[in-house]
Symmetry: C2
């Protein structure tokens, strides 16, 4: 299987099918179907996995407190995975480390035990403090009938999940290794993807760690490609970080040589690396939490004008107004930063009577994994920087 | 002055001017200008009001803890207003009432005292618990040079502010009345609008209370008009509330007779009133916090398809997934609801691999007050309902 087989599924992309699928089938357990091989499959379940929610029953699996991780029987549309590695969300891993240290044992074994406890309690690696999850790597073990790609997903194929562990039913049989530096945990265990859950087969030509680092923020570049026009002016806040670089690169690719790309990055080493890439017209070493100063400097760098598109990729709170102020009226302020406050953005724009479109970053875009991996392959300097940083 | 003179200012609409204005002028106090009449005006200040921020100095006035409400001298671009009435944000007023009751005196006088205390401490009616403000009505007393509409704003004109009290410098000299039912407080006092602050002159032909009720959510209709195409399918969550009705009406106006408008409203009396208006093809009495159920019912009401545009106007948390699920891939889920969680929306869409645009409701749109008042005039049945409810 070549890297061209990176796929993502939007179950809802075929609009007629999921409705019929979910509406016509009972959510209660139906009769068992004899699968072509492997475990029995019940003739029930929906594309979102509500059939696996135990507390509260019938809810979506992400808000659910507990999901059913008994994989002795599968449901319609499910993909069973032999899990190799969990990549824990960075905020979640830090919280687990700190809680373990507070209890007097911050060893890898203690971290592993806490993860096992969460999964035993909730049926998923959904950190109850941070609310976040992560992703997983494993091999396909069985594909239940009713999955939209049931004919294409081969048993034994190595895939990475592109939906959060916070909604992914998981059972851990043993912890093999805990790697602090990469927040990864090797395990023996099984997990499920629902029919609506995107995944990517792992490419042959990109090192696994690099692939995971890139897939983690794969939504950024395709969203940028949709918003940038040739010759556009674009300001990227947090431009030296992982998603920030991908946004700046994509803005240049799509905007072409006449586009004006302005990066704002407060961390000087990152700003220097971004300058070396030669993607931006200007890289301003400024704190994105100072809206008036950043606004003035961005205007100076853009012939006195506000930009067509601002992309907020910061990892700190209180940068909403900066993105709004640097954007021209009827331009777009796009917030990838998970630290964004809805009310600060919405009320902030109103407070300065600024008529800009305010968009929330959706981590999923059709074709996003392939799009981002292809971009990485076509930009050797960016790939080299990412391999040094994240490889 | 007729109702045609309802204006809103986006100071930034003339992109070149504000940059020069704010960049070239010192933020520190310059020499005093002798105004044509009234109080002296300093030759400094910017369109956003950072010159009035005391704690922290130089910040934007909304996030500032305290702003300068000494109006003996004005700054460039400021409009001084003789205030008549404050309309306190509903959540803020409720908090003030409850805090007063907890202290054993929930009288109107006690509520008034608390508002006076907040304004004395912060220089603005910015509720420190809820973070929200409100709006005000008053008459123009002086327009400082440098305001973009200095030639058009007449002294004595009666206006309503369209930016939040949470950023509006205010001084209260006396409280004249506190009206619980409408969360309004009549005062003697003065306030300032900055050059970037939108306002509306009060129309002659619409009762004041109705005008205020409508202006409070004036951003909704013009945003809907930008997103709806003739024949589109639209789902409005919280469709029987104030902003929900305006969204549904506007979707029908722009979408025409072939559009399919589906309203979701959990409060049966509101649902009944919405049905009587005859705007929606279907009004579903459902709780927007049950995404799977609402998704199924909306699909049933839309020939098995997800809608082009979902508008969330609910006043409760946890309705994000519902808006996302009912929207077709590459459709738009637009969140007017201030109860929206950025992370729940962003991670929720990714969790079900749903490629929809997620937009945050911007309370300001160029021309929004005039747009919404005009809509109200053209729809007698809607106006009649609003007069009964809010007039």
């Amino acid at each position: 299987m070549s890297h061209r087989d990176v796929v993502e599924l939007s179950f809802a992309a075929d609009a007629a099918a999921p409705a019929e699928f979910a509406v016509n089938r009972s959510a209660a357990g139906g009769p068992e179907l004899s699968g072509t091989s492997g475990r029995a499959v019940r003739d029930s379940g929906d594309a979102f996995g509500t059939h696996r929610s135990v507390v509260p029953p019938g809810s979506l699996p992400q808000p659910a407190w507990r999901v059913d991780n008994d994989f002795s029987t599968l449901y319609f549309g499910e993909v069973l995975i032999d899990v190799e590695t969990l990549t824990i969300d960075a905020a979640s891993f830090r919280q687990i480390e700190e809680a373990a240290a507070a209890d007097g044992d911050a060893s890898e074994a203690a971290i592993g035990r806490r993860i096992v406890e969460t999964v035993a309690e909730r049926g998923k690696q959904h950190n109850p403090v941070t609310g976040s999850g992560g992703m997983l790597i494993g091999r396909v073990r069985q594909v239940a009938p009713g999955h939209p790609r049931a004919q294409h997903l081969a048993v034994g194929e190595r895939i990475a999940s592109l939906v959060s562990l916070s909604l992914t039913p998981l059972r851990i049989d043993a912890v093999r290794a805990v790697r602090r530096a990469s927040a990864q945990v090797d395990i023996d265990g099984e997990a499920l993807l629902f029919a609506s859950g995107a995944y990517s087969t792992l490419p042959d030509d990109v090192p696994e760690r690099l692939a995971l680092a890139v897939l983690d923020v794969a939504g950024a570049a395709p969203q940028v490609a949709r918003l940038v026009r040739p010759g556009a002016s674009v300001c990227v806040l947090g431009a030296g970080g992982k998603s920030g670089i991908l946004c700046a690169v994509e803005a240049r690719r799509v905007g072409g040589p006449t586009a004006r790309i302005i990066g704002v990055e407060s961390h000087e080493p990152y700003a220097a690396q971004l300058r070396e890439l030669g993607i931006c017209d200007d890289v301003l070493t400024l704190d994105a939490r100072d809206p008036v100063r950043v606004w003035r400097e961005v205007l100076s760098a853009n012939d006195g004008r506000e930009v067509d598109l601002a992309l907020s990729c910061v990892n700190v709170a209180d940068a909403e107004m900066t993105a709004i102020m640097v954007t021209r009226p009827r331009g777009v302020a796009y917030f990838f930063a998970m630290s964004t406050s809805f009310t600060k953005a919405a009320l902030g724009a109103e407070g300065i009577s600024k008529d800009v479109d305010l968009m929330m970053g959706n981590g999923f875009a059709q074709g996003h994994a392939e799009h981002t991996l292809a971009m990485m392959r076509s930009m050797p300097a960016v790939r080299s920087l990412f391999e040094r940083r994240y490889g």
